[in-house]
């Protein structure tokens, strides 16, 4: 795998930040975009733009075809059975909200339980909290151990006859924990409980096979998968999408509208009301092609090497404390430095062109569990190199110099 040629496809990575070459280590937050995606947006608006699905003219037909082509490629990207199981949304947050709202409306009653985990991003907690408020549902948190792994036995014990859904992340955006989804789905299936997987972090970094995982719902965002912002993806088993009520109402999602009666469009249009981010969805096709051109197996191998290299190097620095030590870890490394707050770390390394994130990364429950208020986080994408990590480690050493720590 030729990282140099991959990196050269990302124009932003040639930029200088504070006079230094940009070292982008914030891909868990959002990934950068290859030229093919940027060009696609430009090309579509210059040559092919039209609203989709409504008009008969040639432009509209072509735009609709392009839009649906992305759906077909997302279907194969996650290995869904049918294209009708792929819904476009605004982002993964909206995908989860879509399920929480419609599933809640139909299946959650007072006292029913929603089982999530201590690893979750706020986007896989807050939507369920709404059901706690509106329906009187109960939210339970499956605990993690100090390594950052979900204690599966405890999760099992938290399931009761009232548990209506389990919502769990595939990959922690803080500890990098790869969650054994298949094991959790197996447990849930025995009790007929559907499982929603927050795949935001896993989609760009792991092989996604929703049939193999056998989850009921899988949510992710295009912008973390080298795609444009404004596009979220939701995979849902057809049996659920047929049963659940629509989410947002308006044009495009209806079949027939009368003064006294409205019927809804078939799948997937039932869930895509209003004008969608057409150009962005079309451009997302290029992101999938980009990943395919490298091969997800190669990406996994490269990022594993990077992670091991970074962990090894960071552990040599005695002042650095790595957050969590999960059994299976992806390229997300959160850390603290004794005597220096993560915000200060981020400001100082930024001076060397290194972009990392500092804060609670929208995971306050997890930070509270680990007794931390904030952490610094370096996260990798396919374009990162060992040299990037060398620059990071040097920049971290500089933190101690600036703070005059011995």
């Amino acid at each position: 795998m030729d990282i140099k040629s991959i990196k050269s496809q990302f124009p932003i990575l040639l930029k200088k930040i504070n006079g230094k070459p940009l070292i982008y280590l914030d891909s868990s937050n959002s990934s950068q975009k290859p030229l093919s995606v940027i060009n696609s947006l430009d090309y579509f608006y210059r040559n092919e733009f039209s609203n989709i699905g409504r008009s008969i003219h040639s432009l509209a037909v072509n735009a609709t075809n392009k839009y649906e082509e992305t759906r077909m490629n997302v279907k194969s990207f996650v290995n869904a059975k049918s294209k009708d199981e792929i819904i476009f949304t605004k982002n993964a947050t909206e995908s989860i909200n879509l399920i929480a709202t419609t599933f809640g409306q139909e299946f959650i009653n007072k006292g029913d339980e929603i089982l999530i985990t201590e690893l979750e991003h706020h986007s896989n907690y807050v939507p369920w909290h709404y059901l706690r408020k509106s329906k009187g549902a109960i939210i339970k948190f499956a605990p993690i151990n100090d390594d950052g792994d979900i204690i599966i036995q405890k999760l099992k014990e938290l399931i009761t006859s009232k548990t209506k859904i389990i919502a769990v992340t595939h990959l922690s955006n803080v500890t990098g924990t790869i969650v054994p989804i298949k094991e959790i789905v197996e447990i849930a299936k025995k009790k007929n409980i559907p499982v929603l997987v927050d795949g935001c972090q896993s989609a760009p970094h792991l092989k996604i096979d929703v049939q193999d995982l056998d989850c009921d719902f899988f949510a992710f965002s295009a912008h973390k998968v080298y795609g444009p912002t404004g596009v979220g993806l939701l995979y849902a088993k057809k049996k659920w999408l047929e049963k659940l009520p629509p989410y947002i109402g308006g044009g495009g999602m209806i079949s027939e509208v009368k003064k006294d009666k409205i019927t809804y469009a078939p799948l997937p249009e039932k869930y895509e009301a209003g004008t969608m981010p057409t150009a962005e969805i079309v451009a997302f096709n290029e992101s999938i092609k980009f990943i395919k051109s490298i091969g997800i197996e190669n990406i996994i191998k490269h990022e594993k090497e990077l992670t091991n290299y970074a962990l090894e190097k960071l552990k040599k620095n005695n002042s650095v404390n790595i957050v969590g030590n999960p059994k299976n870890k992806a390229g997300v490394i959160s850390f603290t430095i004794k005597g220096i707050h993560p915000h200060d770390i981020s400001t100082i390394v930024d001076e060397d062109g290194v972009a990392i994130r500092a804060g609670h990364h929208c995971s306050q429950i997890l930070h509270e569990r680990l007794k931390l208020t904030a952490t610094a986080r370096a996260s990798f994408g396919v374009y990162n190199t060992k040299e990037d990590i060398d620059v990071l480690c040097k920049a971290i050493e500089n933190c101690r110099k600036v703070f005059e720590l011995k």
Partner: protein, 156 residues
């Protein structure tokens, strides 16, 4: 921008050994502030005497070097001042951080002005301004006995 402009020795020193840290006895006012973006928290304890003078001002909390140093410096400057003067110093400080880079107050000594102006480098780092201002907003909230906690995201 030189990092040393931001992390001046005075700031590092206050960040490492904050003054007036803890809960003072018999405080008359208190307020909490937090920055939801980073999770920083501060509690301010203020003791006003009958003449409306700041007899004691202490704080507890966790945060970055900028936020701890700013809070520590604030307690030193405001202690002993009348509540009206304290309010003026807060306004002066917020103006310094956001626009002027200077402290105009006649209520501070030359040394005190120098110390507080060590925080003016923060202006060059827009993402860090709230770290520096959190405690000052929280002090205002304590003086005014506001019921709601200070939330930096709800403040300009």
């Amino acid at each position: 921008m030189d990092l040393k402009q931001l992390y001046q020795d005075i700031i590092l020193e206050h960040g490492k050994s904050p003054r007036n840290f803890g809960k003072c006895e018999k405080y008359t006012h208190e307020a909490k502030g937090h920055n939801p973006l980073c999770g920083d928290q501060v509690q301010v304890y203020l003791k006003l005497n009958n003449e409306k003078k700041v007899e004691d001002l202490t704080f507890e909390g966790s945060g970055c070097a900028i936020s701890i140093a700013s809070t520590s410096i604030m307690t030193e400057l405001v202690k002993g001042k009348s509540v009206e003067t304290a309010k003026k110093i807060v306004i002066d400080f917020l103006n310094m951080i956001k626009s002027t880079s200077e402290i105009k107050s006649n209520d501070l000594s030359k040394d005190q002005k120098m110390i507080v102006m060590s925080l003016s480098g923060v202006k060059q780092y827009p993402m860090r301004v709230k770290c520096a201002t959190l405690a000052w907003h929280t002090l205002t909230s304590a003086i005014e006995r506001k019921k709601e906690d200070v939330n930096t995201e709800a403040i300009d």
